[in-house]
Amino acid sequence: MWRWLHPYAKPEATYRLNKKLLPWFAWPGVVLLAVGLVWGLVFAPADYQQGDSYRIIFIHVPSAMWAMGFYVGMAVAALIAVVWQIRTAEWALMAIAPVGAVLTFISLFTGAIWGHPMWGTWWIWDARLTSQLILLFLYLGVMALYVAFEDQRTGAKAAGILAMVGVINIPIIHYSVYWWNTLHQGSTITQMVTRLEAPTMPAEMLWPLLVNLFGFLGVCAALVIMRLNNEILRREVRRPWAIAILKGGQ
């Protein structure tokens, strides 16, 4: 693990890896998202019960899923930063946090818009809504802790510890809230997987959803990579290699 990781402790190596990875996330992400959105919002059949308003699922579900996924990613970066003391992992952690927070916000926002016509209310204290809201608070806590320190290195380390504590807590919070109250419909995709013989979602709706899922991942990962590269350049701005890149306009 260390042998595999340690070249990327050097910011320049991470920068170059990121430059190579970026197109592999950005372009498929943009294309998949465009295809998935047009497919889902225009061509997928309307739901027999919810009509056209169900179409927001194509934004709601991917953002909700990756909101949780990026938090785990953030905690993994934090673990790498703590165990191997790699600075770039600390920067990666802080590059992920705002993207994840925005995803969480999008999922809450689209959920409210969807909830209004379907449940007749913008917000209810349902388990999945509540645990998503708490996830937003956890993201905000990590970001607030980071900016509270004058020394950014200390701030990133502290935020990393908080992210790891949070990731242990997320399942506990999730299941306690679930136990507390639930009204939200079950997860369509996991039902799809577990009940293959009688799927709950027809294929012509599921496919655009899956396309969007990977589109969201690609675009958000690209955003994280770009944020991380900006951060690397900002920190290393006095180093010869960074000056060469900045002057070369790459």
Partner: protein, 227 residues
């Protein structure tokens, strides 16, 4: 130098912290008074009808306990950080986790014990049914050590900041939500004469988890803060 056993060291740490705390009594009594004042505000705000109060009592007591804990937490490491004793604690010839556990125990003795003592008064003020009082005491017994242990993580992370107060609540309260859910669930069950064993078992699980894992996180956080 004679080797001191870990238990002796732990007891010495606890004795020292208790002695320091007893010399500045108002520090740990203020949160309890704050709690009483908050509890007094609720009947004034929602009306003194006994059945309304009894219905909201579990939530009010536990939310107030959480908020007052946020006020008292900061002193767990703050003074030691300022006068340098914290660095010595990290250098003690015993596992840092043990010293952290000592801090958590002292904090619990100073904040949760008074709370336990006045809990019958709180139940009375909010007309909580009498059969729920033992359950209230059990939830406090199981829940307050979790508060101290998880709270220690937050304090350790923010101790080097001058303006840590509001931040501390932002970091900790989301993490303590499961505690709130199960404590109030147990109390509500007891109010309706149902068995509260399920939620109480969950709280006991939280207690074990928090006491076992939080010293590790506190240690890491203190090393970042003291650095």
């Amino acid at each position: 130098m004679a080797r001191v056993s870990n238990t002796t060291l732990l007891l010495q740490l606890i004795r020292r912290d208790l002695r320091v705390a007893l010399r500045q009594r108002s520090e740990f009594l203020n949160p309890i008074i704050f709690l009483l004042v908050v509890i007094t505000l609720f009947p004034l705000a929602v009306g003194p009808a006994a059945d309304t109060l009894a219905r909201i009592a579990p939530g009010v007591i536990w939310v107030s306990a959480l908020l007052s804990a946020m006020l008292g937490l900061e002193r767990m490491f703050r003074d030691d950080f300022r006068d340098g004793a914290l660095e010595h604690m990290l250098l003690l010839p015993c596992p840092v986790e043990l010293a952290v556990l000592g801090k958590v125990i002292v904090h619990w003795l100073l904040t949760a014990l008074p709370l336990l003592l006045i809990s019958p008064l709180l139940a009375l003020l909010l007309s909580l049914p009498m059969q729920a009082l033992p359950i209230l005491i059990v939830t406090l017994l199981l829940g307050t050590p979790v508060l101290s242990a998880v709270g220690a993580i937050g304090v350790a992370l923010t101790v080097s900041l001058n303006r840590g107060g509001a931040l501390l609540s932002l970091l900790l309260l989301p993490l303590l939500i499961p505690l709130l859910i199960f404590a109030t669930a147990a109390l509500e069950a007891a109010t309706y004469n149902l068995s509260a064993a399920g939620p109480l078992a969950m709280m006991a699980a939280f207690l074990v988890l928090a006491l076992g894992l939080s010293p590790l996180a506190v240690k890491a956080a203190l090393q970042v803060s003291v650095n």
